[in-house]
Each structure stands twice: as C-alpha cells, then as structure tokens.
Symmetry: C2
Subunit: 367 residues, 2 copies
C-alpha cells in the first residue's frame, strides 16, 4: 500500500488520521501513517504547544500534522457575550427543557464555562503560529482554503497545506488558492459534511483537480477494502477520522470519553444523523436521545453558525458530565457500524494494510 503521497509526506502508508488525541496521532505516525492532531479543542495555544512537545518526544521522529478550523476570509469577531444576545429565548428554553427531560444534571460550579474557542479566527491563528514552531509536515483546514498568508507561511516552512471539499468546484477553488492537497469528504463522513457520497464525489474531485494536487478520500473508510476502493476511485490516500475514536489510545488523551466509546461501539451504520444542531451547519452525529429530541415536531429550527454552537456549548458540557451513552453529542461517520471494539491503533493499522492486500489479490483474479 504505497502511493506518491508516501514520498510527499515521508510516510509508509497513505493513511492520514485526523484525531483530537495526541496519543492517537503519535501512534498512527509511529505505525507508518500520518497522525494529524485536531487543534480546535485547545482554547489556550500554550496547551497545544505542550501537546506538540509531547508528540515530538513520542512519534519516534516520524512525520505528523495538525488540523485547524479557519475560514479563508477573516470574519468579524464579536465577543461571546455580544453574540449570545441574538439567541432567541425559545431556543434556550427548549435546550433547558430537553436536558431536564433527558435526565442530564445541572451544570456543576466547577465547570469551565468557556466552551470551545478554536472556532474563533484569532484562536485558530494562534494554533498555526504554535504549530509552525514544531516539525510538522501538514496543516489541514476543516473549513476549506485557509487565508493566503497562512498557506505562504506554511509552505515557507516546508509544510504542505490540505483543505476539505464536499464538491468538485470547491476542490478546484482550493487548488487555485494554493492548497497542496485536497481532502474530498463524502456524505457518509462524520462532522460537517455535504450531500454527495464518496463513491460519486471522489472521482469527480480527482477529475476536476487533475494532476494539480493529490486527493485524499474522506468519509466511510474503516477497512482495507475501503482503502482499496478509495484508491480505485483515484485517491492517492485516505483521511480517516471517526475510526480512531474507539482506540485505546484515544482514552489516554480524552479521559472522560469512556461513555462516548461505549455508545460508539454499540452503534450501527444506521445510527447517525446529518443535522444542523451541532454548529448550525449540517454535520453528521451519533443518533442519540439528544439528536432525536431536536427531530421532534415541537423542536425549534437550529440557529445559524455561530449562534447554534453558542446555544449548545453548555449543553455539550452537561451532556459530557452526565456519562449516559444514550445522550451523547458526538460527531461520527456512518463507519461507526464497523467500530465494534476498543482496540490499539497499531492493530487497526496493520489490519488495514493486510486487508488492502487481500482486496487487491481478489481484484487480480477478475483479470
């Protein structure tokens, strides 16, 4: 399992792992893939710095990357307080009533009220500044092309820039903007996602981008057969996110996530829903009593981004503290149906490679 991407990024297998856990990212890099650490959860850049220090000491010199969340145009940035004024009382009341009905306890006094600030442009900028002080190989941006100066800065450090796209025209625009690697993310993916499924999207993006940039396949990948399918469709590698949420390493970083893992391991591929309730934009989440509450006829329509995010930020903290697998608020793709046990990264990686080889053997027999 070797493509040009392996040479470009200095890795053994064209498997790129997006994860909020530095333990998972390091384990993937050690196993021959590229671990990419999601930065959005680091409200304080100093904490990201410390996590990257840890990775530098624990990747055995293997390449790794980071993932930021940054729009290409700098938005007007209100304070959380200013923005909150635009949240209708009906929505606040619905969230409060729903949490009560779901048996989610009140917020404990000890909780940090800040929520996730990585969505703010200024915070994402600080992530880039910190990351570029480390020997990273890749900056991926979840919101498409980052601003031009970020691309220039990254390339100046010899760092490649990747951007997610859910449509072929977005992919072309990313490449026009100077992005080095396109991540084509299909409908089946977790988190923010479009409507075109990987089977259709991937060859479209590959054809639209041509030889101007390598394309990674994202969405629905959690087995060697699926890696083979992605490469058959024209990708030069895969971008996997959900799949690492049920690794043993994940819990080392995300210590409170045992309940989430329990819910994920039990879920089938039918147990996700694409909804605007997480952020205001369509994102695929695990289907739980929380998401089902928002699908009821009496539920209000989700607010636009960033208001919906502010509305549910405290609810997400309370839900996390409640430790009830039936009321989890978690982005995950349809591949959750294949995540049926908590296992170490190295085992999953070697299984991906071995199954890939078997899939190619099978294809050879069709000649």
């Amino acid at each position: 399992m070797r493509t040009e991407l392996c040479d470009t990024l200095g890795i053994d297998y064209p498997i790129v792992a997006f994860t909020p856990s530095e333990h998972v990212a390091a384990a993937v890099s050690r196993a021959g893939g590229l671990g990419v650490l999601g930065c959005v959860r680091f409200n304080d850049a100093a904490d990201l710095d410390a996590a990257l220090d840890w990775m530098d000491a624990n990747t055995g010199g293997k390449p790794y990357g980071v993932d930021i969340v940054m729009p290409s145009k700098v938005p007007t940035e209100g304070s959380v307080g200013d923005l909150s004024k635009h949240i209708p009382e009906e929505h606040r009341a619905f969230v409060e009533r729903t949490l009560r009905e779901l048996g989610v306890p009140e917020k404990a006094d000890s909780d940090d009220g800040a929520g996730v600030l990585g969505w703010l442009h200024s915070v994402a900028r600080s992530h880039v500044d910190v990351a570029l002080k480390h020997p990273i190989s890749l900056i991926a941006n979840a919101l498409g092309s980052p601003p031009n100066d970020v691309i220039e800065q990254a390339n100046g450090h010899g760092v490649k820039v990747a951007a997610l796209a859910g449509k072929a025209e977005h992919a072309v625009s990313h490449v026009d903007n100077g992005v080095d690697i396109v991540i084509a993310q299909g409908y089946e993916a977790g988190g923010h996602t479009g409507e075109i499924a990987s089977m259709v999207l991937l060859p479209e993006v590959v054809d639209a981008v041509g030889d101007r940039a390598p394309v990674l396949a994202a969405g629905g990948i959690g087995s060697g057969r699926q890696v083979a399918a992605a490469l058959a469709l024209g990708a030069t590698g895969v971008w996997m996110g959900s799949y690492w949420l049920t690794t043993s390493e994940y819990l080392e970083t995300m210590r409170e996530s045992g309940t989430v893992q329990e819910a994920l391991v039990a879920a089938s591929s039918s147990d996700t829903v694409r909804t605007r309730i997480f952020s205001g934009k369509p994102a695929r989440l695990l289907k739980t009593r929380w998401t089902e509450s928002w699908a009821r006829p009496d539920a209000p329509d989700p607010l636009p981004m960033p208001l919906q995010n502010l509305l549910v930020a405290e609810a997400h903290q309370r839900i996390a503290a409640a430790k009830d697998p039936s009321v989890v608020a978690m982005p995950v793709g349809q591949i959750v149906g294949r995540m049926n046990a908590v296992r170490p990264v190295a085992e999953l990686m070697s299984e991906l490679v071995a199954e890939y080889e078997r899939a190619l053997d099978r294809l050879d027999k069709t000649r």
Copy 2:
C-alpha cells in the same frame, strides 16, 4: 473484468443494467452485460409479452432479466377510486396551484388516465407469469424478497431471484427467504433509497451475507473506477440504473423522453434530492422546479404510500407532456453528474471495461 457472477448468469462482464427500455436492455446484453427490463410501466401484461418477444429476437441469444415491484406480503388492494378518497383536499389544491405556477398545461383529453399500475400486486404477478414464458435468467424485485411461491416458481424455471436491500439486516432476511442474489443499494442511488452510502453499506452487506449469496453494488456507479471500487468492497458485480437513461437506445423505447435526457445531461451530482414526493417513501429524484416547490415552507408533507403516488400520478403525466427540462419528475442517482452526453450503450460498456482495467493497473502500482 470477470467474476463468479459471469458464470452464474452466463455473461461476459458482471454489469447488470436495470432499465425500463427493452432497447437498452437488449443492447447491454448484446454487449456482454445483463440487461434487466423494468416491468412496472406495463399496465397490460400483453404489452410486456410483446416487449419480451422483441427482446428474444434482439438479444442475439444472450441472457437477460426482468425487474418487478412486489412486496413479500400481499397487500389489501383497494381500487384507485377507494384510495383516492383518503387524499386531503389541501394536497390536491397544492398540486394544482403548483403546476399552474410552473406553467404546466392542463391535462389533454386524449391522455390515458390509468397512471402506473405496476405497483399493484395483481399486476406485478401478471408480469412474473408472462416473464417466465420467456427465456429470462433473472427476476429482480425492487421491494426486497418477493413472495415464497414466486421464488419457487422462478427457481423451478432455472431463473435466479435478486432483491434490493439498503441495510445489512434486510439483505440477510432476503437470503433467509431464499433470494439468490442481493443488490446492496446505497444512499447515492436513484429512486427508492436508504440512508447508508455505498462505501459503508456494501462491505457490511457482503460480510452479513457471507458466501450464502453474491452481492451486487447499486448506487453511484457510472465509470470503470467505480466498478473497481465496488468489487474492491466485496461485490461480485454492479447494478446500474440511472446511467442508461442518457443512452441513444433509451429514446428508442421512451420516445417522449428527450426533455428528460436534456435535463439529465445538464445536471451535476448536486442536482438530486431524496424526497418522499414521488411515492410517499424516500426516493432520489432530479432536483427541478417541481421538487423545489415541494421543499417550500408552504408545501404540505407528502402523503404515505400509495396515496402520494395517486396524488401525483396525473401531475407526472402533465409534466411529461409539458416538455420543460426545468419541471421534470424523474428518479435518478447522484451519478447524473457523470451523464453528460447521449451515447450508445456499446460505447459506454466498452468504456466501463477499459477504465476498470486502467484502475486495476493503477492499484497494482501501489504494491
């Protein structure tokens, strides 16, 4: 491009083409695939008999099949008149008002008012009876397992039975019911479709069914790369429907469909919508001014099956007569973005095979 399915069905390539056109079906069979004629449009079994006579004379002795629409349990069958009483006046008024707004002319006196009766169990039974008098190789059922006696009757004639499934558990139940071939149909497919995309669904179905039945991949397939991906995921063949709608042969049977082809050729992969407006159950259609009208806030919720079908049957006839590409009511999958010209079946078939070989060559280089 050769799998066990080729031996099972006596074909050269594991490409099965579902189409309402006997001209397309015959051309696919002649080109080495298996043409499968959709029977639902034949209100009178004698017309199906004539179409199959034509196929017997025009497939050059190559195998072909038929597709029926039959629930496994016989439903209580009201007359169209009885059922119509349950359609709310609000819905009738909305359809009438919408067609007027869209500039769709009134119904001409000469129009046949019967609509499509192939959805009725008695009519589907007559299709089976007629088809089994011809040298067919396959009966596929769009609604899953057909009734037991139909499977026994087909197998008694040496005819294989295939059934569509959008979830792994449905696939297993089909095999338990005696179905010979499972068609795993992903979210990206045209017509009635589930929510799990092909990339995730296909290996799930293959694993669930094991070696009890071959699995065909349906949904999102219109290139050799996609056939290779489907086979990499574990399918032993592909089931393609939408892709043949823009063939030159299609127009030979469906003489009034020039407007539909024009609309399909112009559409991108973003121009479909999964909606209940066609039949009452979720089905993927070409996104047009007609489907958009039903997405407006003032539109009523679609009725359950079979009432929605009855509600829009006359509207579909008026829309077809209007010959306006922006007001087409047509099931099609996301692969429509790859259907950009009207071309002969033989050309598409040889392109599929050649691109498949190139995809395998590319995969070989990753070893």
